[in-house]
């Protein structure tokens, strides 16, 4: 066995590793500067526009007859999404009989006063309704569990 040789190789590989790491982070840095997900105003505007578009879809559903079977609309009882209180969910919901989420309560309303069919929890309509309700209730104090 040639021990001195091994020693020289070890120190060489340390240097190589150092170079590799520096190159990697340098390249990564350049790449993320060019292609990365940075917080530029145009991006923020784009994301907000996507959110507000979803809010607008939710507002339409909230004020239209399409969710139910009897033309009744969410906004008839909840103008501007008042008395929805998303800031209090999850909470014990008497008519459901357990601690429930806002989505479960939305479906309860669709099935009962609106006489419609419940939505899947990941249905884009459900997300739009949730977005509209959350937007209208902005600045409300978060008090989960409160009735």
């Amino acid at each position: 066995m040639d021990y001195p040789h091994t020693f020289r190789d070890k120190s060489k590989s340390k240097i190589l590793f150092g170079i590799f790491v520096s190159v990697f982070f340098f390249t990564f840095g350049i790449v993320s500067l060019v292609f990365g997900d940075d917080w530029e105003k145009s991006n923020v505007d784009k994301w907000n526009a996507a959110f507000m578009e979803t809010v607008a879809q939710g507002e339409k559903l909230f004020h239209g007859p399409q969710l139910g079977g009897n033309t009744v609309q969410c906004a008839m009882c909840h103008p501007n999404a008042t008395n929805t209180h998303p800031e209090t969910y999850p909470k014990f919901q008497k008519q459901i009989g357990k601690v429930s989420t806002l989505r479960e309560m939305i479906n309860w309303c669709i099935q009962n006063p609106l006489q419609g069919k419940p939505l899947a929890y990941d249905d884009p309509k459900m997300i739009a309704l949730e977005a509209y309700i959350m937007f209208e209730r902005r600045n409300s104090v978060l008090v989960p569990g409160k009735h």
Partner: protein
């Protein structure tokens, strides 16, 4: 309870001990004022049914729970003893002003065994600008005297011509008006023509005559974004200012609400269809909810008829006593307080006296 007044207990006994008494979505109003001389004028009662919003689905189908709210009110009025002299209908018989809805509503109301005095609501009006209502149901504004009290019915849901002409079809106009939280909305008004009519109508009425004004929208300003608002309210209030005793009963807001502006007491009546939240629960714009009002509890959606209710009023020497009955909630008595100069909730006025659900979410 002063002598000569009808106590709540007596009242309930006289209604025949109805089990239905706690589920009646209407208001029985007892008038015992008839001027200053107590006992010299005839007492009477009238009932008040408001805002059933009957909604046509298709063919002969209507939204079940709105029908059942109105039916409960009608059945209970018919079971009352003594029977009220008449019923005031406070407006919004229909949801979208359709003939099917108005006809259906009239068919249900035809079961009432007492005459009805009609007030028109915006949901009855904006499809055909009140034509069918005037042909088949009632005049839009009128007055009548009953046992020493002068009643005036106002059509308070008119609005500006520019808004009316904005929409392409009658259906579009109706749909825009029917949405409470519509950013394209337009405030209500009584209008100068009707105010001129009101002045003329009141010309020969003495200041001491008790005056009851019936309107759909509140004749004062509460919250513009939801049209809890009458734009020319001050003009009407000034016409009424010379009277000693003026009470305005209105529908439209679907909630317990009362106010005193100078000589005028205002009381909102409940809806038979559904309750509305108070505007203060929407924090994005300012409201003018009367500070004296103690809110009704937030309704429990599990109970279909919760948040609606019934009430009766004793009026004696220009001082009314309003009894609100609310399902699943405790009773309310609102009395005029001479020292405060406005109506006061006899039990819950102080914030520390309020029952838990009055501040809940």
């Amino acid at each position: 309870m002063e002598e000569g007044k009808l106590s709540r207990k007596d009242f309930l006994r006289r209604t025949g001990g109805l089990l239905a008494a706690s589920i009646v979505p209407m208001s029985l109003v007892e008038i015992a004022c008839g001027g200053r001389g107590k006992g010299t004028h005839e007492k009477f009662t009238f009932a008040f049914i408001s805002d059933p919003h009957l909604t046509h689905i298709k063919g002969t189908n209507f939204v079940r729970n709105f029908d059942s709210g109105l039916n409960k009110a009608i059945e209970t009025v018919n079971l009352m003893f003594p029977r009220p002299d008449f019923v005031v209908f406070g407006g919004d018989l229909a949801q979208l002003g359709k003939r099917e809805e108005l006809d259906h509503g009239m068919e249900l109301l035809s079961k009432l065994k007492v005459p009805v005095k009609f007030v028109i609501g915006e949901h009855d009006y904006y499809l055909d600008m009140g034509n069918y209502w005037q042909d088949k149901i009632s005049k839009l504004n009128y007055s009548f005297d009953h046992k020493g009290v002068h009643f005036v019915v106002l059509n308070s849901i008119l609005t500006y011509d520019t808004w009316i002409k904005r929409w392409k079809t009658p259906e579009e106009r109706m749909n825009e008006m029917a949405r409470l939280d519509n950013p394209n909305g337009s405030p209500f008004m009584v209008g100068d023509d009707q105010i001129a009519w009101l002045k003329k109508d009141l010309e020969n009425i003495k200041n001491g005559t008790p005056l009851v004004v019936l309107s759909h929208s509140p004749l004062y300003k509460i919250y513009k974004p939801w049209n809890f608002w009458t734009d020319d309210a001050e003009k009407i209030q000034s016409v009424l200012s010379r009277f000693d005793n003026v009470t305005v009963f209105h529908g439209h807001v679907h909630q317990v609400l009362y106010n005193q502006i100078k000589n005028i007491s205002f009381y909102a009546l409940m809806s038979t269809a559904w309750p509305w939240p108070y505007p203060e629960s929407y924090t994005q714009s300012p409201h003018y909810i009367p500070k004296m009002t103690v809110f009704m509890n937030r309704q429990d959606p599990f109970h279909e008829r919760d948040g609606t209710g019934w009430a009766f009023v004793n009026m004696d020497n220009a001082r009314e006593e309003m009894h609100y009955k609310l399902w699943e909630n405790k009773d309310r008595i609102v009395k005029y307080d001479d020292s405060a100069g406005h109506p006061v909730d006899s039990t819950y006025q102080k914030p520390e006296s309020r029952i838990l659900p009055q501040t809940h979410y």
